[in-house]
């Protein structure tokens, strides 16, 4: 279990992480979701004791990372697959990691097998593709057979096969009862990977909830209506629902009443309809709406 309490990190006046409190439970995959620059990586670095928080506290099973003896046997982390010396072989990289936490060197062969890198273990890590580097990073995280696993944007830049592999892999780790905490800036990815979500923007907590709940709350059904008497229709519907103009298509987007009700209201008031189509809200739209305020760098 990971517990953050009012965790903050300031760089001068910039608040990269701002009084963030959350809990990551074992036995589930918890997604850490937020746009780029929201403070996800900074938070993960603070969990792992690499960065010192400006305020607040974060503990793993009640202990600071720095207090852990043989930390790799408790927490496995993949923050950046490129944190490897390019002229060191994959096996040597894992060997020194294992030695540092008194993990038997036989374990190196095992984790290489698990991630499917046995064949290239003697090759220098600098020549690895992003997918292979990512696998090597995961091998390093698994080395100590830890209860807690942290992954920072593990599927970034991977091909579909690699993405699927990592997704299934994380589920397996969670099913084994481990705490899996994985960050991403893509809600669609998280909706398929994570059972719980911690959503942040500009370093602040936006939501902590189950993924299912988050999606249900965030995406609401709307109805698209097109009519030659749009103005009149808008007046009628406004009494019953929220109506917004879609200036691109010239149609109305109605939220709050069903397509059937809209049809009946139109008929009562003798308004001609050219289109009446129920819309399912998209995940990305919902996510954008939630985090719009908190995107740091916006294109105009």
């Amino acid at each position: 279990m990971i517990e953050a309490v009012r965790l903050s990190k300031h760089y001068g006046r910039t608040k990269a992480v701002d009084e963030l409190s959350f809990t990551v439970r074992p036995g589930r995959v918890t997604g850490f979701l937020g746009p780029n620059g929201a403070g996800k990586s900074t938070t993960m670095r603070m969990i792992l004791g690499l960065d010192t928080p400006t305020g607040g506290d974060v503990r793993i099973d009640g202990q600071h990372y720095a207090q852990l003896k043989r930390p790799l046997t408790k927490v496995g982390a993949l923050l950046d697959a490129k944190w490897v010396h390019p002229n060191r072989s994959a096996r040597s990289h894992l060997k020194w990691l294992a030695a540092s936490n008194s993990i038997p060197s036989s374990r190196v062969g095992e984790v290489l097998e698990i991630v499917g890198l046995s064949e290239v273990a003697h090759k220098n890590a600098g020549g690895f593709s992003l997918g292979m580097s990512q696998r090597l990073g995961i091998a390093g995280a698994l080395l100590g057979d830890p209860e807690v696993l942290l992954f920072d944007e593990p599927v970034n830049g991977l091909d579909p096969e690699g993405i699927l592999w990592i997704r299934q892999f994380m589920h397996r780790l969670a099913d084994e009862g481990r705490t899996v905490f994985v960050s991403s800036h893509l809600l669609s990815e998280m909706s398929q990977t994570a059972q719980d979500l911690i959503v942040i923007g500009k370093g602040q907590l936006i939501a902590q909830t189950s993924t299912e709940q988050f999606i249900a709350d965030a995406t609401q059904d709307t109805v698209r209506v097109r009519s030659p008497h749009a103005a009149k229709l808008r007046e009628i519907l406004a009494a019953h629902a929220t109506v917004t103009d879609d200036s691109v298509s010239g149609s109305l987007v109605v939220q709050g009443i069903s397509a059937q009700q809209i049809g009946e209201l139109a008929a009562e008031n003798q308004v001609v309809l050219h289109e009446l189509s129920p819309q399912r809200g998209s995940l990305e739209e919902a996510f954008m709406q939630l985090t719009r305020e908190s995107v740091e760098y916006q294109a105009h």
């Binding site: 960065d51 010192t52 944190w83 002229n87 060997k95 030695a99 540092s100």
Partner: protein
């Protein structure tokens, strides 16, 4: 002990220490070979260690600094701190391993230089008898080891190869001897400069004037100079460790 093993694996699983060691050995012993071959008549013992104490040491300092700066360059320092959250012990272990290897290299180069001089000029009296002579040859390893501690400390503080290497080379090869040019005060300051003191430790008095810092009025004995050199190295390392501990990795 575990951490020493870790740093040993890390150091020897990349190529740069091998290259630097080979380069240091070739340069140190090579220079002595050239001197010995070009000397008419007997080669004095004081000539055999110019390569080791003036030239090859620079390569060893670079190797020691690189052992740290590449960790920052490739961010493996973060992997290191994840595996060993106690940054002080991780960095001290690295310092010990690097210093040990530097010391070993120093002995290899010093006695290699001595040996090559003897081979090229068999008639020379190169016997090592007095304590000053032993200090002159065997002391090179100690100077390398302590110099490596300084280099590691600079590497930790600066965190990038180019900067650390530039500082070390200018400091060790140029700055300390240039200060001697300052009228009057120069030699007084030199008496307290670390690498000048290291050379003082190696010098055999009038038998090797080029290394003792000509005209420098040392306030310390030869061994006192080595102690002072070591003291500076330890002080720098402590500063570096404190900074590394406070800094975000």
């Amino acid at each position: 002990m575990t951490l020493l093993a870790v740093e040993r694996i890390k150091l020897f699983s990349t190529r740069s220490p091998y290259w630097c060691s080979a380069l240091a050995i070739v340069m140190g012993i090579g220079l002595t070979a050239i001197f010995a071959a070009a000397t008419d008549g007997p080669v004095p013992l004081g000539l055999t260690q110019i390569g080791s104490s003036q030239l090859a040491i620079a390569v060893v300092l670079v190797m020691a600094a690189i052992a740290v700066t590449t960790e920052y360059r490739f961010n493996t320092i973060r992997s290191t701190f994840l595996a060993v959250p106690n940054r002080t012990s991780a960095l001290v272990a690295k310092t010990v391993v690097v210093a040990f290897i530097a010391g070993l290299l120093g002995e290899i180069i010093a006695f290699g230089s001595w040996g090559v001089a003897k081979v090229i000029s068999p008639s020379s009296d190169l016997a090592i008898n007095t304590s000053a002579e032993w200090r002159h040859v065997a002391g090179v390893g100690l100077v390398y080891a302590i110099g490596a501690v300084i280099a590691v400390a600079i590497g930790i503080l600066v965190r990038q190869t180019a900067g650390a290497v530039a500082i070390l080379l200018v400091w060790q090869m140029l700055a300390e001897s240039l200060i001697g040019i300052i009228p009057k005060a120069g030699v007084k300051i030199q008496a307290w400069l670390p690498f000048i003191n290291a050379n003082h430790f190696l010098s055999m008095g009038s038998d090797s004037p080029e290394m003792g810092g000509t005209g420098v009025d040392f306030k310390l004995s030869e061994w006192g100079s080595l102690g002072y050199f070591a003291g500076v190295a330890v002080a720098l390392l402590v500063v570096a460790l404190v900074v590394a501990k406070r800094r975000d990795a």
